[in-house]
């Protein structure tokens, strides 16, 4: 029984799955990067922020199966909320993050309640149009959002009143890493909870879940709201660390990019964001310096091939290869004694 459950569910699916050595690896890498590449802290912090954003998308798309082309909406709302809060209320970063997450959650709750009655193509279109509406809204509500100029010039007060944000972005990097740590374990707990299992059931077969008495609509809204809140926190972090908020954060392109980065890593596995996003952003950083159009060509080809041959992303691909190699070895070992 136990082995069957283990095979059916991806790693970390149930509470009795212990943390293994591999679970420590991303954090070791992140901390090692802090000491080894201390001149790349600003892109490091960007990557960590996008990983948080990716995890939030993974919760909605990978676990609840909500197809969305508009996740940038929540990132952007969070960024604007944190930016506005720091400009007009208080430069304290943690309360700013709470405000960012809270407002994004509110938008997620409202839009989820409205949009999640549809599915498939209509949902893809509606989430996309919602982002476009918010983009236009931010563009025209100049007194609050700064219109096309965005928000800038905000200060971020020292973290906990102790650690001020330095020029090299060291505090920013550790701040983002800390938030990522909290967010990751929160999502891990959510994904392993009974609620997490029920949204996975909805992803697999919504009709059947309805028949066994699951309040499908309500659970989807809750998952969407949680995901929106986390995306809002990521957006808030971005606003506090870069100290600017621009209209790009609400764009269709950002929604598409985060989706691509997550798909590259693997959807519905929690760790997909840890693989796909650093890989994509580091390669982009190098390639865009040479020629952005070459980059698009290779991303395009890679995307087509990945979806065709490895729909689970790089994580699933390596897991398959690993299983195949192990299977072959096991067979060889079994034969040897004879």
């Amino acid at each position: 029984m136990n082995t069957i459950v283990r095979q059916l569910l991806p790693a970390g699916a149930l509470p009795f799955y212990r943390l293994r050595l591999a679970d420590v690896l991303p954090w070791v890498v992140a901390i090692a990067a802090f000491f080894l590449f201390d001149t790349y802290m600003s892109i490091g912090a960007q990557i960590l922020i996008m990983v948080i954003f990716g995890i939030s998308l993974d919760l909605a798309l990978g676990f609840a199966g909500i197809n969305t082309l508009g996740h940038a909406a929540f990132f952007g709302v969070g960024a604007y909320a944190a930016g506005y809060f720091s400009l007009h209320v208080s430069p304290e970063p943690l309360s700013g993050l709470l405000v960012a997450g809270g407002l994004a959650a509110l938008i997620g709750l409202l839009s989820g309640w409205l949009l999640l009655r549809t599915s498939g193509l209509a949902l893809l279109m509606l989430t996309m149009v919602t982002t476009v509406v918010l983009h236009e809204f931010a563009n025209s509500w100049r007194s609050v959002t700064g219109g096309a100029d965005g928000l800038s010039g905000m200060e971020t007060a020292p973290l906990l009143g102790l650690f001020s944000f330095d020029l090299y972005g060291k505090t920013a990097y550790l701040y983002a890493l800390g938030v990522l740590f909290v967010v990751f374990f929160a999502v891990r707990i959510i994904a392993n909870s009974p609620f997490g299992l029920s949204i996975r059931g909805i992803r697999e077969n919504a009709k059947r879940m309805l028949l066994v008495g699951t309040p499908v609509h309500a659970k989807l809204i809750l998952a969407y709201t949680l995901s929106a809140a986390i995306a809002g926190v990521a957006g808030g972090l971005s606003a506090q660390i870069t100290r600017t908020v621009s209209l790009d954060l609400l764009s269709f392109q950002l929604s598409g990019n985060i989706l691509i980065m997550l798909i590259v890593g693997g959807v519905g596995r929690l760790y997909g964001a840890f693989i796909g996003i650093p890989l994509y952003m580091l390669l982009l950083d190098r390639a865009a310096a040479i020629d952005p159009f070459h980059w698009m060509f290779f991303v395009g080809i890679a995307l087509i091939l990945l979806v065709r041959f490895a729909p689970g992303g790089l994580l699933a691909l390596t897991a398959q290869l690993y299983a195949r190699v192990r299977g072959r070895l096991a067979v060889n070992f079994a034969k040897e004694p004879q």
Binding site: L121, A122, S140, G300, V307
Partner: protein, 293 residues
């Protein structure tokens, strides 16, 4: 005062009409492929771009007259569409909706990079022949001849599509294949070939839209992404697979967009997108789309 307002209103409505008709030409192929083959084809605007660039190449490099270059470009786009339909799209068809979205976004990226490699990243103008330049005066209102020509061509296309689909046997077969592909196959229709031809024709219309509409939709590598949102809105508001819906949605969108830019430059876009949002919430299947489950 009033007459001046009326004149500017008429010319704005005329521009909106031209804009809407081009939008219709580009969108109709996508609406049909999405309605017929259930493929979310985000690369569709890339075919419009291909038509535009082919015309540009034929007119400026091969020195062909405009009247020859445009039909050749349309045929070229159809061939490109047919080629891709037989190759990459056979992978795309079997994917889930999200997989289709990602694969066609990937294809769009490849198209953008290719267009940049071949034609550079600047905006390219397609020179228009002398006979189509100038303005046509109707009373006090001056209408650009080229836009009149655009509207005439697009109307002819709309009528032709409607006639073929609604009044001929080929159209009846296609509609049968849409309603029930398996049943249509059972009575001896080659559904796959039908769909491939339909796909190619849809690409051809997009190519025509791209070639003729280059003055309103400037031709540059990001063409394939820039107008995607607009085209997707037209297609989903009109209802997948509905010609009438696509036409009405394209015209209304073109009008509102043009008038909005003039009268409400601050909130013009917001009106369209909010209206779209509400519309799609009330009728997720679009204005004239059929309810699918």
């Amino acid at each position: 005062m009033f007459s001046r307002f009326a004149i500017s209103l008429v010319s704005l409505l005329f521009d909106g009409l031209a804009f809407g008709m081009i939008l219709f030409l580009i969108s109709i192929g996508m609406s049909i492929t999405m309605g017929v083959m259930r493929v979310v084809n985000l690369a569709h605007c890339g075919f419009a771009m291909a038509g535009g660039y082919l015309t540009f190449m034929l007119v400026t490099q091969a020195q062909l007259p405009f009247a020859v270059a445009v039909p050749l470009a349309v045929v070229g786009t159809m061939l490109l569409g047919a080629l891709l339909e037989r190759t990459v799209y056979s992978w795309i068809y079997v994917q889930s909706e999200l997989g289709q979205v990602l694969m066609t976004i990937g294809l769009t990226f490849v198209m953008i990079a290719t267009a940049n490699a071949l034609f550079g990243s600047t905006i390219q103008d397609i020179p228009v022949p002398g006979a189509l330049r100038g303005t046509f005066h109707l009373g006090a209102v001056g209408l650009p001849v080229y836009r009149l020509f655009l509207i005439a061509v697009s109307c002819a296309c709309a009528v032709a599509i409607w006639y073929v689909l609604d009044r001929t046997q080929v159209g009846a077969k296609l509609r049968a294949a849409v309603d029930n592909a398996r049943m249509a196959g059972c009575i001896g229709m080659n559904v796959k070939a039908f769909f491939a031809v339909t796909f190619a024709i849809g690409c051809g219309f997009a190519g025509l839209g791209g070639a003729l509409g280059a003055d309103m939709f400037p031709l540059e590598p990001f063409y394939a992404l820039n107008y995607l949102v607009l085209v997707l809105i037209v297609v989903s508001v009109g209802g997948l697979g509905s010609i009438k819906g696509t036409l009405i949605a394209a015209l209304v969108l073109g009008m509102i967009d043009t008038l909005g830019r003039y009268f409400l430059p601050e909130a013009g876009g917001l009106v369209i997108y909010l209206a779209t949002l509400v519309m799609l919430l009330v009728r997720p299947q679009g204005l004239f789309g059929r309810q699918t489950t």
